[in-house]
Symmetry: none
Subunit: 194 residues, 4 copies
Amino acid sequence: MQDRPDDKYSRILNASIEVISEKGLEKSSVSEIVKKAGIAQGTFYLYFSSKSDLVPAIANSLLTKILDRMKRKVQGAESFWSTLDAVIDETFKVTDEHKDIIVLVYSGLAVKHSLEKWEEVYRPYYEWLEVEISKAVQKEEILPDINVKWTSRTIINLIENAAERYYIGGERDESLTVYKEELFKFIRKSLITD
Amino acid sequence: MQDRPDDKYSRILNASIEVISEKGLEKSSVSEIVKKAGIAQGTFYLYFSSKSDLVPAIANSLLTKILDRMKRKVQGAESFWSTLDAVIDETFKVTDEHKDIIVLVYSGLAVKHSLEKWEEVYRPYYEWLEVEISKAVQKEEILPDINVKWTSRTIINLIENAAERYYIGGERDESLTVYKEELFKFIRKSLITD
Amino acid sequence: MQDRPDDKYSRILNASIEVISEKGLEKSSVSEIVKKAGIAQGTFYLYFSSKSDLVPAIANSLLTKILDRMKRKVQGAESFWSTLDAVIDETFKVTDEHKDIIVLVYSGLAVKHSLEKWEEVYRPYYEWLEVEISKAVQKEEILPDINVKWTSRTIINLIENAAERYYIGGERDESLTVYKEELFKFIRKSLITD
Amino acid sequence: MQDRPDDKYSRILNASIEVISEKGLEKSSVSEIVKKAGIAQGTFYLYFSSKSDLVPAIANSLLTKILDRMKRKVQGAESFWSTLDAVIDETFKVTDEHKDIIVLVYSGLAVKHSLEKWEEVYRPYYEWLEVEISKAVQKEEILPDINVKWTSRTIINLIENAAERYYIGGERDESLTVYKEELFKFIRKSLITD
DNA sequence: GATGAATGAGTGTTCATTCAT
DNA sequence: TATGAATGAACACTCATTCAT
């Protein structure tokens, strides 16, 4: 429904991403968001039931964007290892580009009672990687004695954390290349060792 | 300063942990904290320069507590693998006990300009594990071709993330034991494979 | 206009009686009323010029209902005393059934500049009792040296107040029967004493 | 406590009487009240827990004032009849002077769940008249077969209603003197008839 | 007549912070 | 140091009303 990027819903969503990634949810005011979106104060509440309602919407929008990019990049990958490589690469890129939103989404969803939404939002991403891992198992690229579901989640979190530590936490003792290689090796070893 | 647990500083810190872990930083009021601490409104500002000043103090207090526990548990461990086992175990326990503070610290520190503090707070923990890893390399328990610093950080984050996914994110498809074993194997493989 | 109970006007009126007697005028919203009435927001303003326009309409509707009931009950009363008895009885019943609307009408009409409407709304009721009193005077049931107009208003208010004190104010020191008898005697004495 | 008329509590109370009697509770804003009281917005909430908290306070203040006046006027009255006369007189005067507050108190207390307060506020007044009536019974000025408690309440309401109808409802078919005489006679007859 | 999306003014209340004592 | 009364800016949310269709 919210396809055209200039319908009211999208106008609000985009404005809120701008504003909230700059200042955090609590410090952002609805009035600033609507001003930026060019709509009236009351109109906001026709599309979102409350300010905090924005966070899952933003998270969802980001995740959708990320997953699309992943899929596109990974298309025609020869092996699971080039898929993994692409996922690492893309995650670092996305993290760099969207630092602000990621931090926001983290802190926003990390609020009590919103945590269930986290899983919900991430699920498509998790499930996509599950499929890739399963295919790799079948092609005997990686060992079969792993828990696919658990491993999918763990890998995604591992990569995202590393990227966040690099770009957001300021942990830059190594070059980016070394950082990513280290990560690749770490995961690979875990998947091919008996 | 905060040695005696009933000096004003500690009274404020403990009260704020109680209040803030319950409701989050923004929803908590200084007035509620001082009421719980049994001091006057103005006294708060003799010990903390602002409300947001509390978060690093809380984070620090938690990390100190965690690191103490780790060290105690790991004392006299025969091999790196029993150390790793203990770290995993302890992390899960701590995460379970202190869900609320962890979420708070996450969301609190995740706000822009506070992220540098994160590294600072975690550093002693990271460094402690670095030492343990180095010892393991020397004892030839794990392979030498790893980046110790990077690996220390990665392992800690990996374990914490898994624990958070289990206790906070509600990802409980597997039993706790299986979950922890999976994690142990995942890390071990990465450290012993060439 | 409001004859058929399902034309738009009546639908709005009935919905607003439900909603407003529940929550009071200020706390009730037009949007809730129109939702209950099953019409569109804008349609409301085709029938009422504003929200506060509802109160006299509701008051009128209630008074009409009450007066109808009075007349029916009193039909064929042998003496003024049985009329008075019926009026007391009926007022108590109506007050009990419509506590909410009565309170609303009181507080709604009690706002400055709305008080003239009060007299207007009550007039038919007052006048009906004037006629009854006059007949009683002629039949020499009550003494002639009273001001009929004033007495009519006073009696109605006296009875209504007693009923309100009983049902709304919670003044229930006596049984309902005693209460009504006391009232009857009080009025009767005033009318037959020289 | 709120004796001196220029402590904060009294300043708020007096300002709110001015503002609210002019516009009604809902139409009055706290911001207007504090402006008139010459205090800061937040200070209001140190003395009243909410805007609606003002109504019982105002009612109480008015009733106290009324009761004081009654007692003073009635001091040294020779008979119950001169007491009654004074009560009628004073009620009409007070109603004239404080029309606005009376209307406000009516509409404000008439809101659901506030009605219990009504009785509470009026109780001292009711009880004072009960004592006067009892004395009159003992002095055999009025007949003993009445319910003192019920009669006290009824007389007060009767007089107040008549005064309100005269001053607020605009029912002025008769001169004020006639109006009050009529009332006196009506009550007197009820009290002396067997 | 009927609709309902859009408006934007309006408000009670909270709360971090200050400061005179 | 310690207090706590006073401050006043800030804000989410509501809702009566309008108007293009």
